[in-house]
């Protein structure tokens, strides 16, 4: 067990609690304590504040789940590609999911979360395969810079397709515009119900494969020597990563950089043992996404700043710092 594991776990759980409280009470209207208690425990009280709290419960749960999914997805992608900069948004996987969802809205007439999810998953999976294929060509395999560039290029390519589909269809644009920014504000219990199976399967696979992924971090040769079937392992872990980020993107829109943020904070403190990094990335992802959502509500008050905008502002500097810090040769 890493040196500070218990301390970190304790701090994270406390932070998680603080986040949940903040998410329930803060926003364009502050909720008082007695209203919070009413909203949570006294379902017969029908005050304005209590109703706001009840609305915010589903939103909070949703943002916790999305954050956890994105955190784990980032950790998995980083270890599968052995690349510290991997993240669903940077690798263009979110845009792939977006394209398929827009396609569905425009041509297949879909409009429920349950239908979004499958399209988003297919889009995310195809994009992930394609980005990885392009990024790993040539000498040196999938170096961080090659993968990131492949991701950026494919993001650019797919976004023009997205716009081309939207332009003649004002109704798609209107439906899509709000989805595209990335927001947990619309999270309701129905969405959460759709989301939970994907989250559960993804996280379960992540936990099971963590020890083998640790071996993979030592290099393919060593991993094979230790009895790991690297190809199969990569495939399974990648499927889990795509399940997690695809499902999140389908329901909340493309929220960027959570995977990058969550895992790097944890790795910095706990080292790189994935048996600890994966669960802690889930928790830190949940914390970061929820805090970002609260911040967005406070900054954007009386409206709100969508969480996707906030995470881009917190996450992009981390990408820049990582780019500056890593040695030239490893780029």
């Amino acid at each position: 067990m890493p040196k500070h594991f218990k301390t970190v776990l304790f701090i994270c759980i406390v932070l998680l609690g603080v986040c949940v409280l903040a998410s329930l009470t803060l926003g364009s209207r502050l909720v008082r304590w007695n209203e919070l208690i009413d909203g949570l425990f006294h379902s017969n009280v029908d005050s304005y504040g209590a109703n706001i709290v009840r609305k915010r419960i589903s939103r909070t749960v949703f943002s916790l789940f999305c954050g956890a999914a994105l955190g784990v997805s980032g950790a998995l992608m980083q270890s599968v590609t052995r690349n510290p900069l991997a993240d669903p948004s940077i690798l263009g996987v979110n845009t792939g999911a977006s394209l398929f969802v827009v396609f569905g809205i425009a041509f297949l007439g879909i409009n429920t979360a349950g239908q979004y999810i499958w399209l988003a998953l297919v889009g995310a999976a195809l994009t992930a395969v394609f980005v990885f294929a392009v990024g790993s060509m040539g000498r040196g395999g999938a170096t961080p810079i090659k993968l990131v560039l492949a991701g950026a290029a494919i993001t650019a390519a797919l976004s023009s397709l997205v716009t081309a589909i939207m332009i003649p269809r004002a109704y798609v644009m209107d439906q899509f515009r709000f989805w595209q920014v990335g927001s947990v504000g619309s999270g309701n219990w129905g969405d959460i119900g759709t989301f939970v199976p994907f989250l559960a399967i993804g996280i379960l696979i992540a936990f099971i494969t963590a020890p083998a992924l640790n071996a993979l971090a030592l290099g393919d040769d060593v991993a094979t020597g230790l009895g790991v079937r690297t190809g199969v392992l990569r495939l399974i872990a990648a499927i889990a990563a795509v399940l997690l980020c695809g499902a999140t993107t389908a329901l909340a829109g493309p929220i960027g950089f959570i995977g990058l943020l969550a895992t790097h904070v944890i790795r910095l403190i706990l080292g790189s043992d994935l048996r600890f990094v994966i669960p802690m990335s889930a928790i830190s992802g949940a914390i970061i996404l929820t805090i970002s959502d609260v911040l967005g509500r406070l900054i954007g008050s009386p409206g709100e700043l969508e969480v996707g905008v906030v995470t881009a502002f917190i996450g992009a500097p981390i990408l820049i710092i990582l780019a500056i810090k890593s040695k030239v040769r490893s780029l």
Partner: protein, 343 residues
């Protein structure tokens, strides 16, 4: 023997020169033809004679309005923005010795766009303010990327990564601004997402036109040194190029043109990225391709706009067409660079 080699070099140079001149003039002729097409075609097709009479000041019912208020500004916007994007993109790519290092990928156009969107939707500014703000924002983005990616030794990979990060933030700003400005109609919004010539107005054009006319001569003259800069810092210095000064002037001119073009038409996708490599393919290397790249940019923008206007049932803005044409090329280029191990 010696004489023979010299002759070979001279004739080779002459041949390349001839090819360059040929390609450049062909591109110019094509651009001219596209400009004419932009004026002739539309809901009503006017004969060339009418267009010339209208341009020389004669009043013809219907034609005067269509050409003066709609087609001429549209054509001029496409012409100058295309030239600016093409030439400035070429300068960036050549100077940084990497076709991926162009204003589109590393976030300079996003900087200008964000500033323009902010001015228009939040403080409801117009013309001059928008132009100035987008130039300042473009320059600030360049400086920021350069400072952040400088490090101990310069690395193009790092510069591109930093640029991608900055672009992510700026794009977040743009999509947020578009979302809160709810009265904004969708066409205006899309202009800032992908670039469009729709609704170009004559009185919005002067800053761009003046900038291109003043700045491009600098770029053409200094662009000749770029070939030497490409040999590397030390060789260029020893061959008598003031490397820092040349670079700074070139960057300032390029950013100025890009920013004003972005403020006028929005960031027309991929033009600054495609023009340089296409110009190099056509005109060969050996001479500065700043002018051919600019002309390729003009041709791309005008042709894409004509396709967008007339090829489909729906009118697509120019940026969508260049985006769809450019995206596969970007991926192809990436694959080729990876194969060769250039990254």
């Amino acid at each position: 023997m010696k004489k023979h080699t010299m002759e070979l070099i001279i004739s080779g140079r002459r041949q390349r020169r001839r090819r360059w001149i040929l390609v450049t003039s062909l591109l110019a002729i094509l651009a001219l033809a596209l400009c004419c097409a932009m004026l002739l075609l539309g809901n009503t097709i006017y004969p060339l004679g009418d267009v010339i009479r209208v341009l020389s000041g004669e009043q013809i019912k219907g034609a005067t309005f269509a050409i003066h208020t709609i087609r001429l500004p549209r054509m001029l916007a496409g012409l100058f923005a295309g030239f600016a994007f093409g030439m400035a993109g070429y300068i960036f790519q050549t100077m940084l010795r990497n076709p991926l290092a162009n204003p589109n990928v590393i976030g300079i156009t996003s900087g200008s766009s964000a500033a323009a969107v902010f001015c228009i939707t939040v403080i409801h500014a117009n013309g001059a303010v928008v132009s100035i703000a987008s130039v300042i924002a473009g320059l600030a983005t360049v400086v920021l990327i350069y400072v952040l990616s400088k490090g101990k030794s310069f690395s193009i990979g790092r510069l591109i990564l930093v640029g991608i990060g900055i672009q992510a933030m700026l794009d977040a700003v743009i999509s947020y601004l578009l979302l809160v400005s709810s009265q904004q109609d969708i066409p205006t919004a899309l202009r800032w997402l992908s670039g469009s010539l729709n609704g170009s107005k004559m009185d919005e054009l002067p800053p761009l036109i003046i900038a291109v006319l003043i700045l491009s001569p600098f770029i053409i003259v200094l662009g000749k040194h770029l070939g030497l800069l490409e040999l590397g810092e030390q060789s260029a210095t020893s061959l008598g190029v003031a490397t820092d000064k040349t670079r700074i002037v070139l960057i300032l001119c390029s950013v100025g043109m890009i920013a004003l073009a972005t403020a006028t038409t929005g960031p027309i996708a991929f033009v600054s990225f495609l023009s340089g490599p296409i110009a190099k393919r056509l005109a060969g290397s050996g001479f500065s391709n700043a002018i051919p790249a600019g002309l390729v940019g003009v041709n791309l923008v005008l042709a894409a706009d004509l396709i967008g206007q007339f090829a489909f049932e729906v009118r697509y803005p120019v940026g969508i067409i260049t985006g769809i044409l450019g995206a596969p090329y970007l991926i192809y280029l990436l694959i080729r660079m990876n194969r060769k191990g250039e990254l």
